[in-house]
Amino acid sequence: MISDWSVILLSLRVSLVATALVVPVGLVVAWVLVRKRMPGLFILDLLVSLPLAVTPVVIGYALLSVFGQRSPVGRFLEDTLGVSVAFTWLGAVLASAILAFPLAVRAYMVAISGVDTRLESAARSLGARPLRVFATITLPLAYRGILAGTLLAFVRALSEFGATIMIAGNIPGQTQTIPLAIFSRISAGRDGAALQLVVVAVVLAALSILVHNYLVGRVRTGESAGEARGPR
């Protein structure tokens, strides 16, 4: 029988991989939205927020349309690369990542826009390339906001249901994450068993917040040390 543990471990794995996808892509998109001035940015901004504006079931439907066997994309991935997204844990990762993306990007945008552009241009004037400026100036100064956005993304990924059940199905041991298992148990009238997993979800959220707070605390001491050393 599929135990609670396999459900929990799968959920953690899906959410961690989804978050690992969201962070780098989210940082690039947020940086472009905040620092670049070019036409079409509004469209990008809208696209980023779209997963929050429509119901997750629609996202799941769209994912099925793209990655199902009736779409050329789905067939190409399956036949040529041997990768199947529909009804695999990769589908669950993709669904979680897309639904978590807007939360991360919004937080990253606020964090990056809070970084003094004069510091960035000073670095550039000293010969640093854009990537180096981003890695050594922007990222460290926006660290706290980036952590907050990443926390939001991870917790949102943990709770993803509507898009996941469409693209990944609900197969115990393969794609059944915590929210899907809760749905199955309620559908079967096993409310007590469902409640157990609700408690697990709350505990995981609490642990995520504690990890986030710990990392924020670390950077605070790091910054004050930097201020003590650096000329003001």
């Binding site: 066997q69 009736r70 199955s184 559908s187």
Partner: protein, 259 residues
Amino acid sequence: MTRHSLAAIAALLLIACLSCGPDRVAAGPPVRVLAAASLGDVMRELAIDYRAQGGAVEISEGPSGALAVQVRRGVPSEIVVFAGQRPMDELERAGFLEPGSRINLLSNSLIIVVRDTYGGNVTSLADLAERFEGKIAIADPDLAPAGEYAIAALQSAGVLERVQGRLVRSLDVRAATASVSLGTADAAVVYTTDAIGVENIRVAGTIPPETYPEIVYPAAVLNGARDLDGAHRFMEYLKSERASATFRSHGFTRLAAMR
């Protein structure tokens, strides 16, 4: 062994761990069954039994609407089982079913449940109208077929108008059962299968099946099946005496007749 090769092995292991699906089955894809959520528990129990006999099957459950979309968008799967004829009719019309494979697998029935502390003697819908004053929960007929059946039964019993003011519409039939269990309603008209294993309620009476439309759970093989033989074998298993004992233990009646 150098530190580099150790690191390389560790990285490979990590990639392998991340890229393989959990509990991956070794040979050939298993027969994949898309099942209505209300059948999830019993289908999983059957799958375990089928695997113990050497078969390969996996169950994915969800709301009927989601299952129909999954079939239409080409999720590789062999069998669908719905909790109503409508989604199956649509798939059949759109040409997704293996011709001749559709059967009416299971049936369900309607019962009256009350709080287990209720001491009165209510056994029929007429009793609910005449000798009962509490709230009666049903699934919302606009949202769930269980509600349509309950309304039809109340109508046949000639008591719909008298209980109208005391009817409480729940999101679905599970919620109707839960509202009695939790005490927000005093009685409910629900499926036989819903009362099994629910605390704080008891079955007060069964409703004559001729007073509402037949409740049917149809099953069919999909013509996009990767493994047609395997699909037909599992359908035979679903129709077997062995499987029907499990269905009965969950409150279902096996029909397994050709439509």
